[in-house]
């Protein structure tokens, strides 16, 4: 790799209804921390570049600079007002390969081809957008990342290095929790340094789980530059017409409730009966019902209505679902995988019901009620009635 071909970290912002989606600032925060330590480590001066597409979003550029962006590349056009995959993919592809932008960012002529790294949000917009953009840029993409590091990596790989040891410098280690929540897989995006299949793969890119990283404290004095990008719009990329668009509250709205009762695979001995018990408990607490990720995979065949109501992604608490902070969180038959804990750890008060005192949820709760849910829940419900909770709606 020629030094200078690939530089900087580009972060793709998401805006909905004129407002920044929270994952945007979270990604910028992590980008800032990573690039600062990268520049110290390698004695370089690479930049965090926020890429913003939309219309009449001038105020947002300043917010992005305050939250860690060195540069904001702002593509403003009425056709970019709402996200549409085709046109967004094309415009981001253009920006990522634009030498003039790179020249302003690096404040010198360089052989810039593409960004070194690129971040997207791992939600319904960013997941698809990252996929298509990375086909356009012909490079690799890891999804649902919750930890990042940059290191030099020595590697011997049959395909990548033809079995020889090669050091890959400045490699982004992308950590991805698997569906069980217990394993971390580290994904790398690496050039093929094997002569028979030699190829360069940049940017190294990933989608980042919303709610994982903290934005940095906004600093009004931070300096940054807005680069206005004149978008080339090809009519062929505007085939999708948006006829109607409505912002709605989610069907499952945890924010309306002060208590949340969640259940996990622990319901397995009698799934239907146990869900009914959980419904009763939730009712007595005026709580919304959440689930752990494995439940959304419908692991039990139960009554269709119950399955359609509860075993769904919309109810998942955790990195694959919602991050919540109710006043009271009750975890029933949930072991406490990291990916779940990330979604509930900000709750004010946490109660767990679980027969296994060694399950990780014990470290994440204030009260651990040891016992089987079949035995414990009816007693809880009875006691709640006795203590006559006055629950404000």
């Amino acid at each position: 790799m020629t030094e200078g071909n690939y530089q900087h970290l580009y972060v793709i912002m998401e805006v909905e209804d004129g407002k920044l989606v929270p994952v945007s600032l979270e990604m910028l925060g992590e980008a800032r921390r990573l690039v600062d330590s990268f520049n110290r480590k390698y004695n370089l001066d690479e930049k965090v570049v926020a890429v913003l597409l939309g219309y009449e979003l001038n105020d947002i550029s300043q917010t992005l600079i305050e939250h860690g962006a060195d540069f904001v590349v702002y593509a403003e056009h009425p056709e970019l007002m709402v996200y549409r995959n085709n046109i967004y993919t094309k415009v981001i592809g253009q920006i990522a390969q634009d030498k003039n932008i790179a020249k302003i960012i690096s404040s010198e002529d360089s052989n810039f081809k593409k960004p070194r790294y690129m971040f997207f949000g791992a939600d319904n917009i960013g997941r698809h957008l990252s996929s298509t953009v990375l086909v356009e840029l012909e490079s690799g993409l890891a999804s649902d990342i919750n930890k990042l590091e940059i290191n030099d990596i020595k590697l011997t790989h049959q395909h990548k290095t033809d079995g020889k040891e090669v050091t890959y410098e400045k490699t982004l280690e992308m950590y991805r929790p698997d569906f069980s929540g217990f394993l971390w897989t580290t994904i790398l995006c690496l050039d093929n340094k094997n002569h028979s299949i030699e190829r360069e793969y940049h940017p190294q890119s990933c989608s980042i789980i919303p709610g994982v990283f903290e934005p940095i404290e906004p600093d009004k004095k931070r300096k940054g530059q807005v680069i206005e990008y004149t978008t080339k719009i090809d009519q062929n990329d505007l085939k999708v017409k948006v006829l109607n668009r409505q912002v709605i509250k989610s069907e499952v709205d945890f924010d309306r409730y002060r208590a949340v009762v969640s259940f996990g695979r622990g319901i397995k001995d009698a799934p239907e009966e146990n869900i009914r018990l959980i419904e009763e408990l939730a009712k007595s607490l005026n709580a919304e019902i959440g689930v752990s990720l494995p439940i959304s995979k419908k692991p039990f065949s139960i009554n269709q209505n119950l399955s359609a109501k509860y075993m769904i992604l919309e109810r998942v608490i955790g990195t694959s679902g919602r991050k919540i902070s109710p006043m009271l969180y009750v975890a029933i038959g949930i072991s406490g995988a990291m990916q779940h804990v990330a979604g509930m750890k900000d709750s004010e008060f946490v109660v767990a019901v679980n027969p296994d005192e060694n399950s990780p949820i014990k470290d994440e709760c204030d009260i651990f009620i040891k016992g089987r849910m079949e035995d414990v829940i009816p007693k809880l419900v009875e006691e709640i009635k006795k203590q006559s909770f006055v629950i404000q709606a």
Partner: protein
Amino acid sequence: MSELNVAVIIKLEPDFSEGSVSYNPDGTLNRAETKNTLGPHSTIAAHAAFYAKVMYNARISIGTMGPPIAESALQMAQRLSDAEELHLYSDRIFAGADTLATAEVLKTGIEKMQGKMDIVFSGHRASDGETGQTGPQTAWKLGFTFLGNVIDYKIDIQNRTITAKRLVRLQGFSDVVEEIEAPLPVFISIDPSYKPLFNTISQRLAFGKFQKEAKIRAENYKQYLKVFNVQQLGVDPKYVGLPGSPTIVYKVERIPRGKATRQAEVLDGSNPEHIRKAVSKMKEALAAMVIK
């Protein structure tokens, strides 16, 4: 000749239902012991294709990349969609592909299907890989308009257009329901909440008829099945499998158990006094918020 050609790409996945799934003692999936099945999101994609069969008499083709046993997933999907063509892209060289290299195989396969495709369906994501990237990447390689999170669609056969509803969830922020119109061809990644509706008598009759047909076809699925290796598919081996994958899995490790964030008081669920205590603490927690 049908006026509408529809393809579905599917995947054979671990069966997460109790009785089929097996977990290691440490909570991770035991792949060797876990059975395989047609993935749940692939199932929904097959339903969405069957909707086109019933409503528009579409001709359905299904494609998958996988080991030889993945033909069972094709059979299951045929049973749901009444497909007339089943493609299995199977070669050792395809193994270990990341989403970009998988998309290359699927794109090439779809282009080899009979007829020019008007719609390609994929599931929301695989339940094992869970990246959700393969669908949109295949779409972009095909040069099709990509529509994600589609919960409903209708085709205007004369004008060769589709109108579709999309449900975009931005966790912790808002949901957006969007109605769009686009010319065919399109690539649709179907939302998990999609449910086909058949309202009229004639639709229900067609539904019954094609369901029967699907059953018979699936019993004889081998006669619809074509298996392609790397040469037969005609893809460049450099762009598929491990050689064509920009990304590698570098390491897999247990996620270290974090430091305890809370000091739990352990109560005995069979002790009435403990239950009383737990409930009064819960009450306190909720009361605190009323003052707030």
